[in-house]
């Protein structure tokens, strides 16, 4: 990744984090357990991505992945 690309992404991330305090929140989620946690969706995106990668690549892989000639 080039430097300017990285900087753009970081700036965008900062904007999305800061603007959380200036927008009206989804009324449907006001009673949800995450509604009080700041930057919840950012943490969710980061952690969720890591969990998916590691769950798939380390746990599911040993369970379901086989050689390509498995069925032959």
């Amino acid at each position: 990744m080039k430097r300017w690309q990285l900087i753009t992404l970081i700036v965008l991330t900062l904007i999305s984090l800061v603007s959380e305090f200036f927008v009206e929140h989804d009324p449907n989620h006001s009673s949800a357990w995450w509604s009080g946690i700041p930057f919840f969706w950012a943490l969710f995106g980061f952690a969720g991505c890591i969990i998916l990668i590691f769950f798939a690549k380390y746990i599911l892989k040993t369970l379901v992945q086989r050689r390509e000639d498995y069925y032959e």
Partner: protein
């Protein structure tokens, strides 16, 4: 109402005509027919048309309302787009079956009764099978056979359900079914669910779609699962089991997609994931839920078609479909990359793309009924979707290496492939920027605004941080040449055992019997060929008179013995007569 034309029948007529015209015009006929189908169905006023009497039931071939119309319209639109993408194709078999496939998908959506629905349902399975078999290699042949068997099974479930339903209620009409205690309804929902690839009835999809032809996969990705979504929305809206299964599907698909090596298998698992949103929305059953599912089916068909077109260009150009064998194509296929990314951004729900305006309706509907588990899992599926389709696949296919492997020879890309992708990408952006173009045609009135501050912030946070996590751990995502076992294990793995029991066992019995019989016959022949053998058998074990060149020394003793025996009998007879 004799002036009403059934769009499916028109398209089937076009499909029959297509192989009869010269090669040069066939692709044009394909596009014109599907475009005509689109125009005709869009002009249809709401109501029931073309009713015929059959075995004492009134069949409604054409039942037009908002729900059926929007589904039929998107089926016709993707057929036009697929027609442009496949314009270079010189294969009347594929073109005809793609048209019939699309016509029958439209026929299902307009079917007012279960009998018409079932006929088009089965026609769809048969026509789609041709698109898999048209690849004409051994792998596709086998996968197509499995596809056929699974869909025949699904069709049987549906037919059993329909027959039970008719005998229970006496009604053939396709209408909202409520009774959860009726066995018929569970058969019907299972038949629909198989085509919607709801686990555990999902494995046929990632098994078959990656083995279809490049152009055929575009139609496959659009039609079968979404007709099932339509049927579920029509008949089973509000069934909670669909909410549960649909939510599981969203995550199920993305986890498998992380492991996928074949690009179209990866995209196939994302069909399962995306259809999960639609199934869940139908399970919620509120106006927002059904609207969301309908809108998402509409968006999904466009961007998934686009993604399959992009994958198809990669395969067409390189002759390879595995991420572990691709890479470094950025300089060689830049237009394909850009158009593919439009599809990727759409499926991931980036603002200004059409996934953003439809997927969020389903998530919003889940929030409305305060089902927060569903909200969390659907958002997790969004993370996984962005990760696999938009980050991992393009990264491993277009970047990752400086240039493609030396042994890859790039085939030229027909311009119409990129035009088809471009038109579809344009629609993805159009509906993303102007969602009201779609919202006004949804089955219920829409009170939903996708572009709110909260929604934008939430989406931006999720996707940006997903990107950073991907970038840090991208090496972990390296594709490996492995396959993933799915529920197809249950019918593919026992294949060897069943074969051993039912085929090999029987064959070995035949084989043994055959050997024993032949041995007996050979022995008889051995003795029959030359009667002296019979004597030789007892006197000279090693040598057979038959198998040697004539040697009087060998035959002499036995011949002497036989002649002596005859003379002896002769002497005895004479002696008896004289005495």
């Amino acid at each position: 109402m004799s002036s009403i034309i059934h769009p499916s029948l028109l398209m089937i007529a076009g499909a029959i005509l297509l192989p009869l015209v010269p090669k040069f015009f066939r692709s044009a006929i394909f596009i014109i027919t599907s475009l005509a189908g689109l125009i005709i169905l869009w002009a249809l006023p709401e109501g029931n048309y073309l009713t015929i009497s059959f075995l004492g039931n009134n069949l409604i071939l054409l039942k037009v309302d908002a729900l059926s119309k929007i589904f039929a319209a998107i089926f016709a639109i993707i057929t036009v787009m697929g027609g442009v993408y496949a314009y270079h194709l010189k294969d009347a078999v594929q073109q005809t079956s793609a048209l019939i496939y699309s016509a029958s998908a439209i026929g299902v959506t307009f079917a007012g009764d279960f009998i018409t629905l079932f006929i088009f349902w089965e026609l769809m399975a048969a026509a789609s099978l041709v698109l898999i078999w048209s690849k004409k290699d051994k792998v596709s042949g086998k996968a197509g056979m499995r596809y056929l068997i699974v869909h025949l099974f699904g069709g049987s479930l549906l037919l059993a359900g329909i027959i039970l339903h008719i005998s229970e209620t006496g009604s053939v009409l396709v209408e909202h079914l409520l009774s959860k205690s009726s066995v018929a309804n569970w058969f019907i929902i299972a038949g629909f669910g198989l085509n919607a690839a709801i686990p555990p009835l999902n494995a046929w999809l990632p098994d078959a779609y990656p083995k279809a032809t490049v152009t055929g996969a575009v139609f496959l990705s659009a039609l079968t699962t979404k007709t099932a979504v339509y049927a579920l929305a029509r008949v089973f809206a509000g069934w909670e089991v669909l909410l549960i299964l649909g939510t599981i599907m969203t995550v199920y698909g993305v986890i498998y997609a992380v492991l996928s090596n074949d690009i179209r298998e990866l995209l196939s698992y994302h069909i399962i994931s995306q259809v999960g949103y639609m199934v869940a929305g139908i399970g919620i059953g509120t106006m927002m839920g059904v609207n969301g599912s309908t809108a998402h089916a509409f968006s999904h068909i466009l961007y998934k078609g686009l993604l399959f077109m992009g994958a198809g260009v990669l395969i067409h150009a390189t002759g390879r479909s595995k991420l572990s064998e691709l890479g470094g194509l950025a300089k060689f296929l830049p237009i394909t990359l850009v158009l593919y990314l439009v599809g990727g951004f759409s499926i991931s729900g980036l603002p200004l793309f059409n996934g953003f305006i439809s997927k969020s309706m389903v998530v919003y509907a889940a929030g409305e009924i305060h089902n927060y588990i569903a909200v969390i899992l659907m958002n997790l599926a969004m993370v996984g979707t962005f990760l696999s389709t938009t980050l991992k696949l393009p990264y491993l296919a277009w970047f990752n290496k400086e240039k493609p492997d030396a042994e890859i020879k790039l085939n030229p890309i027909p311009i119409n492939m990129h035009i088809g992708m471009g038109l579809t990408a344009f629609l993805c952006v159009l509906f993303g920027v102007a969602p009201s173009l779609l919202y006004q045609y949804l089955p219920y009135q829409v009170n939903y605004e996708p572009y709110t501050g909260a929604h934008l912030v939430e989406t931006a946070q999720i996707l940006l941080l997903t990107f950073f996590a991907f970038w840090i751990f991208r090496k972990k995502l390296a594709a490996e040449p492995l396959i993933s076992l799915d529920f197809d294990w249950f019918y593919r793995r026992p294949n060897n055992f069943t074969k051993r029991l039912l085929v090999d066992g029987v064959l070995s019995v035949f084989d043994k019997t055959d050997k024993v019989l032949m041995k007996g016959v050979n022995t008889l022949i051995y003795f029959g060929k030359n009667p002296t053998n019979t004597v030789a058998f007892f006197t000279m074990r090693e040598q057979s008179a038959t198998n040697l060149d004539y040697d009087p020394n060998i035959s002499r003793p036995t011949t002497m013995l036989i002649i002596s025996a005859i003379l002896l009998v002769f002497v005895i007879i004479i002696a008896v007569v004289i005495i």
